[in-house]
């Protein structure tokens, strides 16, 4: 079984390297072929290495300059929890929403289960609602 440091490194690499730097080839190294990922923003789970690559490519197409900062990690057993902040400019189509040029900052939490040095399962919840407000897809209240 991986050490807690190894779990944290894998969790960090998913966020920073695959999604943040767009190094999709890293998925071949640290994502299991049996991977299933549950992203709160997506109606269907991502499956397999290609599922992760497509998800990362999709977000990066919408936010080409996206960057991620890992804020906190907790590891236990075979699982690592990563709390992160992402920031990027909406310059491509996102869920059918045309580019707005607006920069957004969102936070999220990913829970990754690791087996044999690869991520086999991911549950990610992130501030989809806040993102929609920031790019103007949902109105914001200005006063109480």
């Amino acid at each position: 079984m991986a050490t807690t440091d190894e779990l944290k490194t894998i969790g960090r690499r998913v966020i920073e390297e695959i999604f943040g730097e767009g190094r999709l080839e890293v998925a071949d190294e640290i994502i299991s072929a049996d991977f299933v990922g549950y992203d709160a923003a997506l109606p269907e789970p991502n499956r397999g290495i290609e599922g992760v690559k497509q998800s990362a490519a999709g977000y990066r197409a919408a936010f080409p300059d996206i960057t991620f900062v890992v804020d906190e990690q907790i590891a236990e057993g075979d699982t690592v929890v990563t709390r992160w902040t992402g920031r990027g400019t909406h310059e491509g189509d996102l869920f059918g929403i045309a580019p707005t040029g607006k920069q957004a900052t969102v936070t999220g939490i990913s829970i990754d289960r690791i087996a044999d040095g690869k991520v086999v399962e991911d549950h990610t919840n992130w501030d989809t609602f806040g993102l929609m407000q920031q790019i103007g897809a949902i109105p914001t209240a200005t006063t109480a």
């Binding site: 920031r87 607006k102 957004a104 900052t105 936070t107 407000q133 790019i135 209240a141 200005t142």
Partner: protein, 85 residues
């Protein structure tokens, strides 16, 4: 008894600057200074539909009878000026 409900859509922790689109933390709006490059890029994206429409309109005009004549006439005028110079 009626109790006022909280706003249904509270503001997120960050919002884009209305001028340049940069993500600015709430409460830090006064510290924000728009970067020229981002400002320009943001405005270009806001105008993308207008730009696309202009390109379409221009292409349609250039392929029209009037457009083809104007292109020919402009080329002839340039040629005449070159010859006179």
């Amino acid at each position: 008894m009626y109790r006022a409900m909280p706003p249904p859509f509270p503001l997120p922790a960050h919002m884009p600057c209305p001028e340049c689109g940069a993500s600015v933390a709430r409460g830090r709006e006064d510290d924000h200074v728009c970067e020229e490059e981002r400002l320009l890029r943001y405005r270009m994206i806001q105008l993308r539909e207008e730009i696309a429409r202009f390109d379409d309109d221009l292409a349609a005009y250039l392929s029209s009878q009037r457009g083809r004549f104007d292109v020919w006439y402009a080329a002839r005028e340039r040629s005449k000026r070159r010859d006179q110079a």
